[in-house]
């Protein structure tokens, strides 16, 4: 008979358990073991990624807070900073899409609120399987409603995002949410606990058994089998509570009542109190008997690891405690002093005054071993292929199929479920491709925000693919005249203990580092989500890049529809290829490898476009991305209701590519600009390729590349582009709220 080993059930290896015993000089008790198991988990300790993340450039003149804080922050002048971070909530959303997505938004908002910032925008980056299964319909519906529910109810606009549909995400969808907030730079709070004798105040929702999950193996015999239902693993979001929490935090901040502030996320009190103490080099005492509970009979370990949502932890000087509690009462939110900062360097758990656990802060927070990966490049393409476009389809049929492809088709049906204007800052709601613009009158300018990632291309080549995603993000900012200030990212990968995934992760981070260096855009924060695998295999490696940029004038952003007679130009060192493209996917021909990206010429094109938009010379711009030039032109035609006639002969000649490459090929560094021909020509002669390729006119999209020609009615194109909603809606009843 084998002895059940609780540490194994909790996800710790024998080696890690031995290390814990060694550090403590004894075996941990149940409370301590629960705490270790969480802080030494991948999620909290980054044990498989931390070494790699050290390669990212994190410094720059505008950085106010970098990795290590709850969110990153960059200076936008006049005493204000923009705080932002992206985070994943993939597994919870796979289990319960509505609540998973909602609490994902709630969690990332709290990270930004914890800096003392007021959130001003949300973006979401979503990945699902192909939209032809009941499961995908259910996930899409729940996730989109969940994000809307939380953001809308909180009064934070969701201004942009992206949604891709690819088979490897079928069982393991990705839900990444990014939050952007504004704060007075000198009022921003750090998470570090300071000052022995200061009080620890917990406020917000009551603590229940939410998210205890695996730790329930530690439950004493009092609760037997049938009581499992009492330990819900699904967390429920309560945006109303969070909205009160936000206003309360803002008032606490304005009255200068807190020494430090920290949100409670994964691993609840254990991680927030532990990390506060670690960052401050202090000790901390928490008495679980003082924690306001939703259910009376909770055990100490349950209270320490509970992941109940909508809670914050503050360190407060003793003489300010009454004022803090009074403000919490004003905002109708529960609050209590639950402990004290000490100079003991230990994290002590008490129950009504009696010690029930005691761990050295360093052992708990920084003691987890960091692992080296064993990367090995897979010899072949390891993901499935399937054919959805016949090999002999005409160029026009291909164009329509690409426009209707779920990853390219209009996502208006999703974004219209999000309040994109609350807060009165939204100058430009992000459409499918480019960036959102937010007015920042506080510093007399505007910011642009974008989020991008293309797992399929990263799967083809993790290094080049990640560079492309980063460049695309910068290109999206350029389209609205913005210059990157800082980068956040979420690395969604499979199991890093597998050599192939380890290789993807390492190469991807190298690509991110290289692109950010080239753009001089420091990485100020991020998140890593590993083990995104099911028996069907890992997801596509999916680094999601979020960027914040600034621009001088929110009224001067491109994004207008073109007019009859406007000239159309292709700008940039765009070198189209079908490798990793949407068309190659639809033909079932995906394979390894992407063409090498010449980063600096792309950067020059980005800068040229940015300046052209800023100067007001150009008002119609889009970057060429999924589906290539033909798709980009069709999308512009759809948005204006006016067709075009374009010839890609010059593209073919200069770049030595095939007609299909020219029409549908993808890659970084291409922009479509439109306007007066003389204005477009003014952009030439600055070292960046500028070629007039046609004219806006008529009711047809005509794009010719030697012997291949796309010729479709604008209304046909539009019908294809708007077709996703019908495909996705039909079996949804929307009973989630």
């Amino acid at each position: 008979m084998s002895e059940p080993k609780p540490h194994i059930a909790l996800g710790l290896t024998d080696h890690e358990f031995d290390l814990i015993c060694e550090k403590m000089g004894r075996e941990p008790n149940g409370v301590e073991l629960a705490m270790f198991s969480l802080l030494w988990s991948e999620h909290c300790a980054y044990k498989h990624s931390r070494k790699l993340l050290k390669n990212l450039p994190t410094e720059g003149p505008r950085v106010v807070m970098g990795p290590g804080e709850n969110a990153g922050a960059v200076d936008i002048g006049n005493g204000f900073s923009i705080a932002f971070k992206v985070e994943s909530h993939n597994h919870p959303s796979a289990v319960e899409p509505f609540q998973g997505a909602a609490t994902g938004v709630g969690g990332i908002l709290r990270d930004v609120i914890a800096l003392g910032a007021r959130p001003i925008a949300i973006l979401d980056s979503l990945r699902f399987g192909e939209p032809d299964t009941e499961r995908t319909h259910y996930l899409v519906d729940g996730v989109v409603r969940g994000i809307g529910h939380y953001g809308n109810s909180m009064g934070i606009p969701t201004v942009g995002g992206e949604i891709y549909f690819e088979p490897p995400y079928e069982q393991n969808p990705l839900v990444n949410a990014m939050c952007v907030g504004i704060a007075r730079t000198d009022e921003m709070v750090r998470a570090a606990a300071a000052g022995a004798g200061n009080k620890v105040v917990l406020f917000g929702s009551l603590t229940g058994r939410d998210g205890i999950g695996g730790a329930s193996v530690l439950a004493s015999a009092e609760l037997d089998e049938g009581d499992d239902a009492k330990r819900p693993t699904v967390q429920i979001g309560d945006p109303f509570e969070e909205s009160k929490l936000l206003e309360c935090c803002q008032e606490l901040l304005a009255a200068d009542l807190m020494v430090s502030l920290q949100d409670l996320g994964a691993a609840g009190l254990t991680s927030s109190a532990g990390e506060m103490a670690s960052a401050g080099g202090t000790g901390i005492d928490i008495d679980v008997g003082l924690v306001p509970l939703r259910e009376a009979d909770m055990e100490p370990f349950e209270i320490m690891v509970s992941e109940s949502q909508e809670r914050m932890l503050a360190v407060v000087e003793p003489d300010k405690v009454d004022e803090v509690l009074a403000l919490c009462t004003k905002w109708q939110t529960a609050s209590a002093v639950i402990g004290e900062v000490t100079d003991s360097a230990t994290f002590r758990i008490l129950k009504n005054g009696e010690t029930v656990g005691e761990i050295r802060v360093d052992d708990l927070v920084d003691g987890c071993p960091l692992y080296d990966l064993n990367p090995e490049e897979p010899a072949e393409w390891t993901y499935p292929n399937r054919e959805t476009i016949p090999a002999n389809a005409s160029a026009s049929d291909i164009a329509l199929a690409l426009l209707a492809s779920p990853s390219i088709a209009s996502k208006r049906w999703a974004f219209e479920q999000y309040d994109s204007i609350v807060g009165s800052r939204t100058a430009h709601r992000a459409g499918a491709a480019d960036a959102a613009v937010l007015n920042i009158p506080e510093s007399n300018r505007a910011i642009a925000v974008a989020i991008d990632g293309n797992g399929r291309r990263v799967a083809c080549d993790p290094f080049q693919g990640t560079i492309e995603a980063t460049l695309e993000c910068a290109a999206n900012l350029a389209v609205v005249g913005a210059e990157p200030l800082g980068v956040t990212n979420c690395l969604n990968f499979g199991n890093p203990e597998k050599p192939g995934v380890a290789w993807q992760l390492g190469r991807s981070i190298d690509g991110l580092a290289e692109a950010c260096r080239a753009l001089e855009a420091p990485v100020v924060g991020g998140n890593v989500s590993l083990y995104n695998e099911t028996p069907q295999g890992p997801i596509y490696p999916t680094p999601v890049v979020g960027m914040v940029g600034e621009l001088p004038d929110p009224a001067r952003v491109a994004g207008e529809p073109w007019k009859e007679g406007d000239a159309i130009a292709l700008v940039g060192p765009f070198d189209p290829s079908l490798a990793g493209s949407e068309l190659e996917k639809q033909r079932g021909q995906l394979g390894k490898g992407l063409p090498e990206v010449a980063i600096y010429p792309v950067r020059e094109a980005i800068e040229l476009v940015r300046e052209a938009v800023r100067s007001g010379l150009i008002r119609i711009v889009t970057d060429v991305s999924d589906g290539g030039i033909a798709t980009a032109l069709a999308e512009l035609a759809i948005s204006s209701g006016i067709g075009c006639d374009a010839h890609l002969t010059a593209v073919l000649a200069k770049r030595d590519c095939s007609a299909e490459d020219a029409l549908f090929g993808e890659g970084p560094g291409g922009f479509i600009l439109a306007g007066e021909k003389t204005d477009l020509e003014k952009l030439g002669g600055q070292g960046v390729e500028v070629e007039v390729i046609g004219q806006a006119r008529g009711n047809e999209v005509i794009v010719t590349a030697s012997d291949r020609r796309v010729e479709i009615l604008v209304e046909e194109a539009e019908a294809a582009f708007e077709s996703l909603e019908d495909r996705i809606e039909k079996d949804q009843a929307g009973l989630t709220h």
Binding site: E134, K730, D731, Q732, L735
Partner: protein, 76 residues
């Protein structure tokens, strides 16, 4: 204390959007023969007396313009 259960339903004749959405979703999910779906709210609570409960329903739990309510007391 009394334990009560208040059932609140959309008034007859008013389009019940949620009920309709559920009906609409049924065929795609393979359900047949299900009709007249109406969706309402159930509020369970303990109250000190029945008068108070009635007032609570009229003033807060239901909007008489659009909803009917029914009180079931479970125990007294």
């Amino acid at each position: 204390m009394i334990q009560a259960r208040v059932l609140i339903r959309p008034k007859e004749g008013i389009l019940d959007a949620q009920g309709k959405a559920v009906e609409g979703a049924l065929p795609a999910l393979g359900f047949s023969g299900i009709e007249h779906v109406r969706i309402g709210r159930i509020v369970e609570l303990s109250a000190s007396d029945t008068d108070q409960l009635d007032e609570l329903c009229q003033k807060l739990l239901a909007n008489p313009l659009i909803e009917d309510y029914e009180i079931e007391t479970i125990s007294g």
